[in-house]
């Protein structure tokens, strides 16, 4: 095998890497013995590789290590802060979720509407489909024909289901629908004023009620 200078130059890097096959290597070495130019190129290239492989060549800028350590310390503390902040934000989010849930639970969608009368007692077990009579400006609903219907009410009566009446804030009449109230009126001793005693009654309705 014969190689010319140009071929040697193109393979010089591979030769230094030890990546030429043995036959080419032997041919190149024979060429170097006779060619001063190629030997100069080989020696110079090897020197370049050795010089640049020296760790002393690229010095770090003054203070590089100190600045790096400072940034790493900042990053460590801020990542710790971020973790703490994440936990704190998780707690805030949970609180907000609970508060939101409570708010939502108290909204008109999920709870009984406010009763029109602050003195009315929450009903219990009223059959949803029971047809009751209400008046627009009244506060209670009645069984049709209830003798405690006011005359004024009787002139503006309309019929609806007990479920609708309850949704609109009407309370059961303490007379005609007394059994559905969760509070009962008891008579105090004669010497004192009648008063309301709030007391949970057991469910009186046998069919599914409200």
């Amino acid at each position: 095998m014969v190689v010319n200078c140009e071929h040697v130059w193109q393979e010089i890097s591979n030769y230094l890497e030890g990546e030429v096959d043995p036959a080419l290597r032997a041919t190149m070495e024979a060429h170097f013995k006779e060619c001063k130019h190629c030997t100069a190129v080989l020696d110079g290239t090897r020197n370049v590789v050795q010089l640049y492989g020296d760790d002393r060549l690229f010095e770090l800028p003054a203070g590089f290590s100190q600045r790096l350590q400072r940034r790493l310390a900042d990053e460590t503390s801020s990542s710790g802060f971020r973790s703490a902040r994440s936990l704190w934000m998780l707690a805030v989010a949970a609180t907000a979720l609970i508060a939101g849930g409570l708010t939502l639970g108290n909204s008109s969608v999920f709870r009984q509407p406010d009763l029109r009368s602050p003195l009315a007692m929450p009903p219990h077990g009223v059959p949803a489909s029971l047809m009751v009579a209400v008046s627009d400006d009244g506060k209670v609903f009645h069984v049709p024909g209830c003798k405690y219907l006011h005359k004024h009410d009787a002139e503006n009566l309309r019929m609806m289901s007990a479920a609708d009446a309850l949704r609109q804030g009407y309370a059961p009449c303490v007379r005609c629908l007394r059994q559905y109230l969760s509070a009962r009126v008891v008579c105090s001793p004669p010497s004192s004023e009648p008063r309301l005693i709030v007391e949970r009654w057991p469910s009186l309705a046998t069919d599914p009620g409200l």
Partner: protein, 223 residues
């Protein structure tokens, strides 16, 4: 004559006490001992910096990129898998960070124009000065180090990157190819050109001109 001794094998390095210590440190850092991270990267600061410098050719930018790369490695340390060397992983992050900054700055227009050659054409050495010996004190002298750094900065980007990764960082051909996302053959072609161009730039000075004794240098007698 012959090939250069190189660090090429991961298997050889795993038997090295330094490599064993690095593996131990790495596991502890990945397990959450973040304060040990600096100990882990300390041996590679210079290599990360020079990788960034190879791309950016500016000390301040290279430092920013190198530090940012190390911080990114810190943040993503749990993602490192031992399939690659830790140093290669770090250098890859540094090169990517530097490339991203260079793209952002559009600094391609500042590339040197003197040494552009097409990769397909053969490179012909221009200087045949006999440069057999490397003066032992060469790298002790700051001005020599400066001239070497200037010379490598004169290389076109694609040659400079390969040269720094292979000959300064001592990555293997395969690792250099992986870091740069190019083929093994391209690494070898660019490496040849980079070495020959640097030799042309440095041979005249290192074969004698830079070592001429100055009249008042230590040991000389001006009278």
């Amino acid at each position: 004559m012959g090939s250069l001794p190189r660090r090429t094998s991961i298997q050889v390095e795993t038997a090295d006490p330094a490599a064993v210590r690095e593996q131990h440190l790495l596991r502890r850092v990945q397990a959450g001992e973040k304060k040990l991270f600096y100990e882990l990267v300390k041996p590679y600061q210079g290599r990360v910096y020079s990788a960034a410098f190879a791309v950016l050719r500016n000390e301040a930018d290279a430092e920013d990129a190198a530090q940012e790369a190390i911080l990114k490695a810190f943040t993503h340390i749990k993602q490192f898998r031992a399939e690659a060397r830790f140093s290669t992983w770090l250098i890859q992050i540094a090169v990517n960070e530097a490339l991203m900054r260079r793209r952002r700055a559009h600094s391609e227009i500042m590339e040197p124009i003197g040494e552009r050659q097409e990769e397909d054409g053969n490179y012909t050495p221009r200087d045949f000065a006999d440069w057999r010996e490397i003066p032992s004190e060469a790298l002790e002298r700051k001005e020599i180090r400066q001239k070497l750094a200037e010379a490598v900065a004169m290389l076109t980007q694609k040659y400079r990157e390969v040269f720094i990764l292979r000959d300064v960082q001592q990555l293997s051909i395969e690792e250099s190819a992986e870091v740069l996302g190019i083929s093994r053959a391209s690494v070898k072609t660019r490496l040849l050109r980079a070495r020959l161009m640097l030799r042309d730039m440095l041979a005249p000075g290192l074969s004698g001109a830079w070592f001429a004794r100055l009249p008042f240098e230590k040991g000389s007698k001006p009278w």
